[in-house]
Assembly symmetry: C2
DNA sequence: CGCTAAGCTAGAATCAGCTTTCATTACCTA
DNA sequence: TAGGTAATGAAAGCTGATTCTAGCTTAGCG
């Protein structure tokens, strides 16, 4: 189930073992059963249940149209989906998990959408910029979702992490595909940098410390700086 | 006081006006005075008060040695500092605010430290990589602080944002200074990208989805890719 | 020196929301 | 149609930040 966290040099989390509380508080470990039963995998559900699950996700997505996810309460989602609160928790481990699924749901629609119409531009830089700008535009038309992303980026919930990782992998794939004629290694590096820039710009925009115009500009600029160099490394020079 | 948030195209926060709750819940606004009085500026405090304030910050920093900030409760900090809980709130608007100051405190020590010993490397790429690696190493020896950073990056608290912005400006300055002979515009772009990469790598390491070795590697690689290009733009070509 | 407001302290009380529980009831399959 | 699983509704748990209260202390001042 859990995927990552199996690397080298993982930082000491410091919260795994409930050793001792800071203050004079000498409380007990308190490791009550973290969760009796994990939510069933979607694959194992009946049609009716899948539908119900879907309904819950769409309810969440729908509520995000007009409300920040921090304002949306689980009971609201349940209500909107026409389902009992407990039912929501049958399908989703936590609020984070639910919204991670919501995000994935939305993103998967987007990707097919992006794939539908071909990328603009004749150079790698132009194409990569185009994809990044498209992604940003998507968030721009639904800022609440951007907030969800930022919030989930630091979620500890394993389900959330899993979904999130899958999501990021998908994005990376799309980005990589916008690059042609580059050695795999180089393409990977370029995409890694592009992703970083996108991430930070998204955050700064959402947090209100950067105008959307600057965001687009910085993304374009970053791509330019990075790619124009990389394309000179291999023999094949563009333009 | 507040600095940013005055740009163009700020995204609709959606949580400013307590219009209507999603569900059928027709609760009242409940906007009791959000905060009667802001914490006094450090400059206006007596020596004894400054000392007390300092003591609180150091208590927070000290507790971070062995505990994640989410595990540290305000009362713990108060206890560690030998101060009443209410006093902590006299000096700091919120938990976020407190930890932002803790972070700033730590960072300011670091910076002077970095400035003390000259940067290694004869090229811009080497020097920038060196600074970034040093910064990362600092976090590596104190992962709890990295977590604080990630958490504060999305804090809404205006005090926190302010402190954070100042911090980031300081970092940027150090980074820029590692670059020599580059047009201002280019240097800015390079640093912007470098910062993004650093940020994402820090997050991925802290969240356990990237080994620390890979983190250093990716940073170096990113700098290489970016800088080796930029240094070819102006007349002066290195190596 | 005596007074007074502001600063402190120790605790207790609020509050908000996610999560969990539980007694029922509805549904599906063998 | 019995047995078991899933869903419902309502009502607690629970955790911690934040706020409030009442009684001391202390520094500055006339």
């Amino acid at each position: 189930m859990q995927s990552s966290r199996a690397q080298t040099g993982v930082p000491p989390t410091g919260n795994v073992a409930g050793v001792d509380r800071p203050g004079g508080n000498d409380s007990v470990p308190k490791r009550s059963t973290p969760k009796v039963s994990a939510p069933p995998l979607p694959e194992t559900l009946s049609a009716a249940q899948l539908a119900r699950r879907e309904r819950i996700i769409e309810a969440g997505l729908s509520l995000l149209r007009s409300h920040d996810h921090t304002q949306i309460q689980m009971k609201d989602v349940a209500g909107e989906a026409g389902v009992a609160l407990g039912t929501v928790y049958r399908y989703f481990q936590s609020k984070d998990h639910l919204f991670a699924e919501v995000l994935a749901h939305w993103a998967s629609q987007l990707v097919t959408n992006v794939e539908r119409r071909p990328l603009r531009g004749s150079t790698n830089a132009e194409r990569l910029t185009d994809v990044l700008h498209r992604s940003m535009r998507a968030f721009q038309s639904w800022p609440q979702l951007a907030r969800v992303v930022l919030s989930l980026e630091t979620s500890e919930d394993p389900f959330t992490r899993e979904i999130f990782a899958r999501n990021m992998a998908r994005n990376t794939k799309v980005y990589v595909e916008s690059l042609q004629g580059l050695p795999d290694e180089v393409a990977k590096d370029v995409v890694s940098v592009a992703t970083s820039v996108f991430d930070l710009q998204l955050r700064q925009w959402v947090m209100g410390s950067q105008s959307i115009a600057d965001v687009y500009d910085r993304i374009a600029r970053a791509v330019w700086v990075v790619l124009e160099f990389s394309e000179r490394l291999p023999a094949t020079s563009v333009a």
